[in-house]
């Protein structure tokens, strides 16, 4: 029991430490790569997946 508490407690604390340090979040988002630099000149060329799904 003691060993279990130590292992479980350490794992939970470690996870909390990592989560808080790395700034984990439960928020949903989409990650995309390779967005062209030209987007700054033509912002309308980028289409948010959220706009289409959630608020068409």
């Amino acid at each position: 029991m003691k060993k279990f508490i130590i292992v479980y407690g350490a794992a939970v604390l470690l996870l909390m430490g990592i989560a808080e340090y790395r700034g984990w979040s439960l928020m949903s988002y989409e990650e995309q790569k390779g967005v062209p630099k030209s987007l700054r000149e033509n912002p309308g060329s980028y289409r948010s997946s959220y706009a289409r799904v959630l608020h068409k």
Binding site: M1, I5, E20, W24, S25, K33, P43
Partner: protein, 460 residues
């Protein structure tokens, strides 16, 4: 001095006495079948049961008359053979007698074994075995006091466990009384694990004995037994809880874990940057519908951590503002998300109501450092909405801290559940099943003295 100390540390027991170098035995012929019978009790026993025919012979009678005969079809074999010698609590004892007792509860017979031990300097002791659980017993030095339905002995409160009538169903070897086939007695057990206080009442006398739970491995080692140790079944009345002894250290450990969680959280909280990386005000108008804007570049520094986008909007009067946003890095990585801010209010059945609010907070996880900008595409049915966006880097979060507190709360719940399960199993075979939480002894001694007339059972 508590009961345990009495068993383990009574002065006469802690100073081991010399034991006979070799067993002093005497033999006689069984009056029933003529088989040889070995006597080990050094003339301090009054009866002996023949292993071959089950006859119990009166050793105080010069003609060795048979006082009863056990006609049991089942020949029980003692787990510790008669004649075995072993050192228990520092003293050498020899097994001289073995008997089986039975009790019938709700039509079911329950049997247990008792081994009579003898040391010429210490007298008699008992080993009791039930379902693989063992107790080492001796007679009490004085009469325990009554305490409610329990008993008080050596400053310890014992809880009533069970009262029943037992009968002798099988005997082997010698005894210090004239044991009879089917002999009955009313017994009452009181417990304060690992101690057990037992009262045995017959028409003639009342005997009290105090016992301590003993690990079978200790006995097997003491008697140098080569047989396998029978598995323990269930929980014995006086079996010490494996959790009770550790409970305080486990509670302490759980407390330290909670403290560690607070410490880690506060350390990360105070070391967080919580730095404003970008801030600007914008206005949405219907003519801008469908148009996206981008902000200037801003720097996000430090180790990979969260980025919090705080938004506030006004005026919102029964309306909403939806922002399609993307946090885009200089090297082309985009975190795409959408947030809605809405505020509605009104009156229904004479009472005012409102829902929503004018601000929002979005947290993007583990964003690496670099140069970023925001792409914002607003939508709203309102003719015009002003909104304010702030981007913060490495903002301390409370959510995981509370999740961890919840996860750590599982530990005390688990500990209490295991304690309760063990105690539930213990009390399930008592006269008080399901009442273990109400049966916690208090430390106030009861002054009522036991009035039974007692007779020393084993101190002869």
């Amino acid at each position: 001095m508590d009961g345990k100390q009495e068993i383990m540390a009574e002065p006469s027991l802690t100073a081991p006495t010399p034991a006979p170098a070799s067993p002093q035995v005497k033999t006689l012929k069984c009056s029933g079948c003529g088989s040889p019978i070995t006597l080990r009790g050094m003339e301090r026993t009054e009866s002996v049961a023949c292993e071959a025919c089950g006859s119990v012979i009166d050793l105080t009678d010069e003609n060795l008359r048979i006082i009863s005969t056990f006609q049991s079809k089942i020949k029980h074999k003692p787990l510790i053979p008669l004649g075995s010698r072993g050192r228990i609590r520092g003293d050498l004892f020899e097994v001289i007698g073995y008997l089986r007792r039975a009790v019938t509860v709700e039509g079911v017979d329950y049997e247990w074994s008792e081994y009579l031990l003898f040391n010429p300097y210490k007298g008699f002791r008992w080993l009791s075995e039930y379902n693989g659980h063992w107790s080492f017993l001796k007679t009490t030095t004085h009469i325990p006091r009554k305490k409610g339905d329990g008993a008080r002995y050596l400053d310890k409160t014992f809880l009533h466990f069970q009262t029943a009538e037992s009968r002798v169903v099988f005997v082997l070897g010698e005894f210090y009384w004239k044991v009879q086939a089917g002999e009955t007695c009313k017994f009452t057990d009181y417990i304060s694990p690992p101690m057990i206080l037992s009262k045995e009442q017959t028409a003639q006398e009342t005997d009290w004995s105090i016992g301590e739970y003993i690990e079978p491995e200790t006995l097997w080692s003491a008697f140098k037994l080569t047989s396998s140790i029978p598995a323990r079944i269930g929980v014995a009345p006086n079996q010490p809880s494996p959790y009770a002894g550790q409970a305080s250290s486990l509670w302490k450990l759980i407390g330290y874990l909670f403290l560690a969680a607070v410490f880690i959280h506060l350390a990360i909280f105070f070391l967080s940057q919580n730095k404003l990386a970008f801030e600007n005000r914008f206005t949405f108008q219907q003519k801008d519908k469908g148009k996206a804007i981008v902000t200037e570049f801003f720097e996000i520094t430090g180790h990979p951590s969260n980025v919090v986008i705080k938004t506030a909007a006004a005026p919102l009067d029964n309306s909403w503002l939806f922002l399609n946003m993307a946090l885009i890095s200089e090297d082309g990585r985009a975190y795409d998300f959408g947030r809605e801010i809405s505020y509605y209010h009104g009156t229904e059945d004479g009472s005012a109501w409102s829902e929503g609010n004018f601000s929002d907070e979005a947290t993007l996880p583990t964003v690496p450092p670099g140069r970023y900008y925001l792409r914002i595409e607003p939508e709203s049915p309102a003719p015009m909405v002003n909104y304010h966006i702030q981007v913060y880097r490495d903002v301390p979060q409370w959510s995981f801290f509370f999740i961890v507190l919840g996860a750590l709360c599982i530990l005390p719940i688990l500990l209490i559940w295991r304690l309760a399960r063990f105690e539930g199993a213990r009390w399930s075979e008592s006269d008080h099943p399901g009442t273990m939480w109400m049966r916690i002894p208090d430390s106030t001694p009861e002054e009522e003295e036991g009035k039974e007339k007692t007779k020393g059972k084993v101190d002869r």
